[in-house]
């Protein structure tokens, strides 16, 4: 991080096709997910994804606060994405800003399309995402954490929601950008996939790509999401492994 102090663009892709941290173009950073680390929340998850560290907590369904947001036919999904002041090199000014509001909104909307909110009318499902350490791709890491936390909270939904960012850096379409690739690259394209149906429920883009590049990027992203999906499922299996032991008292 400190090594790119100068304004000059680092070499994002070596002649051998390796990226700044030695990954290939279609490789994810290492992901580790812990389901249920928080005791008070109805569901929680901690995601370590490359140098990202994100904690998510889910409360609900519970009474809606503020009341006027209540909906008579379904639960409202309220999401709050927040970056800790110490999550980035330069102190992040704490509190709401336009970026965190936007991310909260797109994540809430992504969950709106998979959670069976009609089962809990006039309630709220509150999702809190706290970024403790950031290194690009925190909205995806946050979404993944929140999704595992929702499953941990026993909330009914169509599927888990894996997410990943694809992008373009050093002229190549790459999977799962890290900070330098995000900052100095040509494009960033976070996405979230419903594996069961193949639908994308979050898709944003910054930068430029040709149509062909976009379609390559989408394919790569879907592949990436499916890899993330496996890690998410394993995290939940590990947490609830005891419950599935044979001979247990039902």
């Amino acid at each position: 991080m400190g090594s790119v102090g100068a304004k000059e663009v680092p070499v994002l892709l070596s002649p051998e096709g390796l990226r700044i941290d030695g990954r290939r173009v279609n490789e994810l950073r290492p992901i580790r997910i812990t389901a249920g680390p928080l005791k008070h929340a109805d569901g929680s998850a901690f995601v370590e994804w490359g140098q990202n560290k994100v904690m998510a907590a889910v409360y609900g369904p519970r009474e809606v606060h503020p009341r006027h947001l209540q909906q008579n036919t379904k639960a409202v999904i309220q999401c709050k994405y927040n970056m800790a002041a110490f999550s980035v090199d330069e102190r992040k000014r704490p509190g709401l800003d336009r970026r965190s509001q936007e991310i909260s909104k797109v994540i809430a909307e992504a969950f709106d399309s998979v959670v069976f909110a009609e089962e809990f009318p006039r309630t709220s499902i509150d999702v809190y995402i706290e970024v403790l350490q950031a290194n690009a791709g925190t909205r995806c890491a946050g979404l993944v954490a929140a999704s595992v936390a929702l499953a941990d909270a026993g909330i009914p939904m169509a599927d888990l929601l894996p997410a990943v960012a694809v992008g373009k850096a050093g002229g190549a379409i790459i999977l799962d950008l890290k900070k330098e690739e995000d900052n100095f690259g040509e494009a960033d394209l976070p996405m979230a996939l419903v594996p069961q149906s193949g639908r994308l429920v979050l898709l944003q883009m910054e930068g430029h790509m040709t149509r062909e590049e976009l379609s390559t990027a989408l394919d790569l992203g879907v592949q990436g999401c499916r890899q993330v999906y496996e890690v998410m499922k394993q995290a939940l299996r590990d947490r609830y492994a005891v419950a599935a032991e044979p001979g247990a008292v039902a």
Partner: protein, 288 residues
């Protein structure tokens, strides 16, 4: 999926013990395709294009003609006639609002209490923070939960402490035919009430309350393995201050009978037989 994912077909009258008691228990996750073979989607599932998928994290439990998923986590989903422990969160002129750890607060109307109350006098009977043992009476499609305090054993819980566990573990705390809860009360001398919403009220001397808490923690942490009642029993025996607390065998005897589970268990006293005073209680299915 009806009112909630607990509302599947009743187990009782389904031919004795649970069909999956002996079999392998399969953990499923949301979005996972389920082997449905002509079965209908039950609670905790959904169907798309002829295939059935899990909608919640839980254990796969085929119960013909349904395939369903039994939750392992999540908030308490109220069912009519469940006995639950609520905490008063708001007092109005004619009713109180109770937090029963469900998705919504439950109004307890003053006519649902054994007291003769004038409008506006509600606060003289229950204040914010008080705890009560109530029964879920009705649910409407908008999710409103009606509760009543009329019924044997129901009422205000005076003193004691409340421990919250996950509602999915309640059947284990109660035990088969109430065996676990009887073990706990017998060994500690504490008075215990278990709400289907995962709240456990414990009253007795502070030492006993602590021991019950520990026992509940044991159940919550490893409620899955068999022989748990025995292990809780030996734990409580080992921590007993007087060396050999409680009565050895008689309670065990009654636990073996296929007795319905009491919502309320007291330690044996002189003037009161231990036999369950649960005649009017719906058997809360222990093995769900």
């Amino acid at each position: 999926m009806g009112n909630g994912h607990r509302s599947g077909p009743r187990r009782r009258g389904h031919g004795g013990s649970a069909p999956h008691r002996s079999g392998e228990r399969i953990l499923v996750l949301p979005g996972e395709e389920l082997p449905s073979q002509g079965l209908k989607p039950g609670s905790g599932t959904y169907r798309v294009g002829g295939k059935v998928y899990a909608s919640i994290l839980g254990l796969l439990s085929p119960r013909p003609p349904f395939v369903q998923v039994v939750p392992l986590s999540g908030r308490y989903i109220p069912k009519p006639s469940d006995v639950v422990i609520g905490t008063v969160t708001d007092v109005q002129g004619t009713f109180w609002l109770l937090d029963i750890a469900a998705p919504r607060w439950a109004p307890l109307h003053m006519t649902g209490t054994p007291w003769k109350i004038e409008v506006g006098e509600t606060e003289q009977y229950l204040r914010v923070g008080d705890s009560v043992l109530v029964r879920v009476e009705n649910l409407d499609p908008t999710g409103r939960i009606g509760v009543t305090m009329l019924g044997e054993g129901l009422g205000k819980l005076e003193g004691g402490a409340i421990v919250q566990i996950t509602p999915a573990k309640v059947p284990r705390v109660v035990g088969r035919g109430g065996s676990m809860i009887q073990t706990i009360t017998r060994r500690t001398g504490a008075q215990v009430a278990v709400g289907q919403n995962g709240r456990v009220w414990v009253s007795g001397d502070p030492e006993a309350i602590l021991r019950v808490r520990e026992a509940l923690k044991m159940i919550a942490d490893e409620g899955q393995r068999s022989g748990l009642t025995e292990r809780v029993d030996s734990y409580l025996k080992a921590t007993s201050p007087s060396g050999d607390a409680g009565i050895e065998e008689p309670a065990r005897e009654s636990a073996r009978r296929d007795a319905p589970d009491p919502p309320f268990a007291r330690p044996p006293t002189d003037d009161e037989p231990t036999d369950l005073d649960d005649a009017d209680e719906r058997p809360n299915d222990a093995s769900e």
